[in-house]
């Protein structure tokens, strides 16, 4: 795999539930946690996805069926070829005593970070958040491992919101940094909490992308001009300092910023 187009056969599919599957590919090119790849479904479109793990020469991409592209991806079977390019962007740095937070679909990239830290025997703490029990990614594994889980409705783990739980954890424990991926409203809240505690952050952001190679300008953040696809998607306090669009609806395929926030369109 590199930045030019190549197609790879799916070697295995694991169905977590009918709308959430992990696809495995034989890809040896090293990918860092938090970096992303572009997946091409020939005849349909090409979209960015984070990597949920890479081990023993196999790359894992976990996809939740939300829009036309991800719904079509649910039909993929072993042997089907898809295009994969990358890895793109700057990922997470594995850091001792990090608080790793994944909310909603953001669990996929932080899972890769957490698994990598475990393999490196680096001590980290994982917090998983979701709206409800059914929405918890990798639920079986995380329940088995006894990870801290919070759900909005309390149907699994503690009841409550991710930022509130992070506040509690920071009050009772001490961490070196917060690494997080999830909805932007959660990331913005974590950024503010981290500032109060004087903690560095590594937060993974999403924007509409066309090229992923820093050319098209579609994913540049207002205020700083930082390209989410190259300088991001994982950004620090310093890099977020001048950004003026955090929490606003994202610019769409035309480059316009819509009035209302769109949900993940892929």
């Amino acid at each position: 795999m590199n930045e030019q187009m190549q197609t790879f056969p799916v070697v295995e599919v694991v169905e977590h539930n009918p709308t959430l599957k992990t696809f495995y590919f034989k890809v040896k090119t090293p990918v860092k946690p938090g970096q992303f790849v572009l997946m091409w479904l020939p005849g349909l479109d090409e979209k960015p996805f984070s990597v949920s793990d890479q081990k023993r020469g196999r790359l894992e991409i976990t996809i939740k069926a939300i829009g036309p592209f991800t719904k079509k991806a649910m039909e993929l079977e072993p042997g089907d070829r898809v295009g994969l390019r990358g890895p793109f962007g700057r990922g997470f740095e594995v850091q001792d005593n990090a608080l790793i937070v994944g909310a909603g679909c953001g669990v996929a990239p932080v899972r890769f970070l957490h698994e990598t830290a475990k393999r490196m025997e680096v001590n980290t703490t994982l917090l998983i958040g979701a709206r409800n029990s059914a929405e918890v990614l990798f639920k079986d594994q995380y329940v088995d491992e006894g990870a801290t889980i919070v759900t909005d409705d309390g149907s699994l783990g503690g009841k409550g919101l991710v930022p509130d739980r992070v506040r509690e954890m920071l009050a009772s424990g001490s961490y070196s940094t917060i690494c997080a991926s999830g909805p932007e409203v959660v990331l913005v809240a974590l950024r503010n909490i981290a500032k109060e505690h004087n903690l560095p952050v590594q937060l993974s952001f999403e924007r509409y992308m066309k090229c992923a190679i820093g050319i098209c300008g579609q994913c540049c953040l207002d205020g700083s001009g930082i390209r989410v696809c190259v300088e991001g998607p994982v950004l620090t306090h310093e890099e977020l300092e001048q950004v003026t669009e955090l929490g606003l609806p994202h610019r769409d395929a035309t480059g316009q910023r819509p009035e209302k926030p769109g949900i993940c369109q892929a």
Partner: protein
Amino acid sequence: MPHLKVQMAGISMDSPLVLASGVLGVTASSMRRVVDHGAGAVTTKSCSIHPRKGHPGPCIIPYEHGMINAVGLSNPGVDAVVNEIRTYRDECQAPIFASVFAGSVEEFGKVTRRIAAGNPDLIEVNVSCPNVQSEFGAPFGASFEDTAAITRIVKKNAGKIPVAMKLTVHCPSIGKMAKVCEDNGADVITAINTVGPGMLIDVGVKRPILSNKMGGVSGAGIFPVALKAVWEIHRNCNLPILATGGVSNGNEAAQMILAGAHAVAIGSAVYNRGVEVFQRVNEELLEVLELHEMERLDDLRGGAHE
């Protein structure tokens, strides 16, 4: 001290290097960042009257010798671009060029009138995009008559703002085409647009990679084609030339200036050399001036024609 200041159609630039249209030109902040890294001017991504989503992906693919793209002229519409230009003006002194395109001569007139409201330093008229042929047919830039008519209506509607016609090499003679633009009132010639269209096929799935199947070829591989076009335009018309096509270093920028260019746009090289490419090419251009013991780029311009 040697310097890189240039004048083109009355526009003063601290460097001859311009951000090419279609690259990092969607937002004001992105363009300001390019200026912070040494560009003398920036060009917005081409806009139309109405917003366009462009083609699905893949729409930009790097390959061994450059890249191929069929973005499909995605843009937020001319009025949104006017707002970006105003935001840019609040933050940045360097000139900003606005690229426009349309599906008919009349529409070129309309989009020009609306972009002029943003008061860009130059209006660049894209009559040469190769990626929307299924929608618009062959580029207007392939026809002397169409290009002449568009030049006239755009000049009429641009008011005092200078107009650059962006030409394609895929026409009977780019030198004669430039002369036609000059005769019909253009102020600058931008040359060239992407080449082709070309195609890449994935052997694994046995189909073209770009969703549009074909797309414009840019980057290092097209530099000699662009350079020869600039040479030919310089011999056929007296307008200043904004040269673009595969330039990625100071040597190539100097070659464009020796062929007759006033300014040199950089696009695809941002992929290979980062946003910092502008500062680096500036430094490399200064080395060329030092080599020839010259003070300014004006002394270099057209030097290959003697």
